[in-house]
């Protein structure tokens, strides 16, 4: 069952929290809503769940307009950051809750509960109370509870944010596995963690300040960001001011050849642009294109070194992996990159 939002707008007391959002999630697709806090991503999810009524626009589930349907008639599973397991019920009763609410025959409930708990490896915890479980276990139960009703659509509202780093990685793998095992399940996953979004999602919708900025595959967003916001929010980026001159782009004294398809739509000759360079795509020493600069800072991050280099008064970050003795502050360095690693994006934000 697919999800389609058509021009969905929501505002609270004069503040627009979601501005005419159009979003289509194909059946069986895992889509991440990625954005900083206040970007409207949670509101978008809540319009799908039915807890927020859009001021305008329609919400469709599987081709059916559900905008006026109450949450309990929508048949979407939901997992929230705080788990929200019912503390007065044992795990099995928590998982059975949705089945009973939907009138599943009594003799079937027990087997469906077991099945849902087995899916997340929580089968042996059925008799426990939520308070007797760790955070990660509680989140597994919450996922089981949502999946027990066999929803066509699963909504995940920052489900991993309350977990520590190690558990988060573990649960990310778990969600990826569930997505593989349940190919018909459409998932909408709200997160502010780009790692989660890139790992799990088939497509990522980047939201910022109540608007959808970009909606594409993680790979495309990462390799070919089309806005400065995406470039900076999905992975880290060096953004260097540039100018289009005929079939070349001038940046920091270099000239890069461009073909029309590289350019953002509607860029006029002589117009300002930005060149996005990923820190880990830059190498020390000459390459296809080479910048020269002076090291201003060096920091060690375990597996990589972060080098800050001053190039014509611009600070450029370089991520170096596997260098035992990177150049220290004050050293002159050459920064090389390939033409393919430089992505052209428009200046500033579109409205």
């Amino acid at each position: 069952m697919g999800i389609r939002l058509d021009g969905v707008s929501v505002s609270y007391g004069g503040t627009t929290v979601l501005d005419s959002l159009d979003l289509t999630v194909e059946p069986g697709e895992f889509t991440a809503l990625l954005g900083p806090s206040g970007s409207g991503k949670t509101t978008a999810l809540r319009t799908v769940a039915g807890f927020v009524r859009p001021d305008s626009g329609r919400v469709h589930l599987g081709g059916r307009d559900v905008t006026d349907l109450p949450p309990y008639d929508r048949g979407v599973g939901m997992v929230v950051q705080s788990y929200a397991l019912f503390p007065h019920m044992r795990v099995e009763r928590n998982v059975a809750f949705g089945l009973r609410a939907q009138g599943v025959p009594r003799n079937e409930v027990a087997s469906r509960v077991t099945e849902a708990l087995e899916m997340t490896g929580m089968g042996s915890y059925a008799r426990r109370y939520p308070r007797e479980l760790s955070g990660g276990q509680q989140q597994r139960v919450a996922i089981s509870r949502a999946l027990a009703i066999r929803p066509k659509v699963l909504l995940l509202d920052e489900p991993l944010s309350a977990l520590d780093a190690r558990l988060r990685a573990e649960m990310t793998d778990e969600l990826a596995r569930l997505h593989r095992e349940l190919p018909d399940l459409t998932v909408l996953h709200v997160t502010h963690d780009q790692g989660e979004a890139l790992t799990l999602a088939d497509r990522v919708a980047v939201l910022d300040r109540a608007r959808l900025r970009e909606y594409d595959t993680p790979r495309a967003l990462y390799d070919r960001p089309r806005t400065a916001f995406t470039a900076g929010f999905v992975g880290s980026a060096n953004l260097l001011p540039a100018r289009l001159e005929g079939d070349r782009v001038r940046v920091c004294g270099l000239e890069l050849p461009v073909s029309p398809e590289d350019l953002p739509a509607g860029t006029a000759d002589g117009a300002g642009l930005q060149v996005c360079l990923r820190p880990h795509r830059i190498v020390l020493g000459p390459a296809e294109h080479t910048l020269r600069g002076t090291v201003t800072d060096l920091s060690w991050r375990g597996s990589v070194h972060h080098l800050t280099v001053d190039v014509d008064g611009r600070s450029v970050t370089v991520e170096l992996a596997g260098h035992r003795t990177p150049p220290g502050p004050g050293g002159a360095v050459e920064l090389g990159f390939d033409r393919d690693d430089a992505v052209l994006i428009p200046v500033g934000e579109e409205p």
Binding site: A49, Y72, R74, G77, V80, F86, P87, F97, A101, Y129
Partner: protein, 265 residues
Amino acid sequence: MLVHDRLTRRAIQALFALLFLPLFALPLGVIVAASFSTGWSGALPSGPTLDNYAVAFGPQTLEALRVSVVTALVASVCALVIGTWAALSAASMGPKGRRIMDALFMLPVAVPTVVVGLALLVAFSRPPVLLNGTHTIVFLAHTVLVTAFAYQSVSAALTRLDPVYGQVAASLGARPARTLFLVRLPLLLPSLGAATGLCFALSMGELSATMMLYPPDWTPLPVRIFAATDRGALFTGSAFAVVLMATTLLVMFALSLVRTRAGHR
């Protein structure tokens, strides 16, 4: 603890005891002492006796105690149902509706209880609704007086209740009634227990409105205490008071057991 220094902590505890004991504990202790005496002219009560309790456990007083307990139970159960219902409705209203509800339920607290009693007496003394001289008017008065407290404690608990529980229940397909009875009310249970205890205790001690309304065959214990002391039987009255106090504490203790068990689940 903000204060770590052991000496300071002791000093604060001593100060608390100094303020607490004379104000709260001592008067109660005096009542207990008086209930075992026949006279009190010196520093200490004299003439130790159990006669007061012989009267206190006589049929008339026990009947009054039964009346009080039944009244308090009926009033607190009614108050709990009405107060919870009203608090749930108020929570689903906008801020304006909620303010009106809050003000409405403050009314019986703000108005002197004597006035509430008089109002009920005047309102229900003639047909079509003639309640004067029945048990019902006592139940009614107590319910009106304690519902405000039930409403307030349930309201406070509702604002603390994370709406996400109800939302998750709805997403699982539970209609509002199922969500209310299987999720929201059970989560409110500790507060409901506390509210019941409070209402029960308040109703057990209610005198001023009751005085204006009680029919001869439905005399609650506080009225008996007042009557006893009014005719000068201070020590018998003290024994009645101790019985009233002990019963109230016993019921509240039982309720707190239910509450902690609910909280542990």
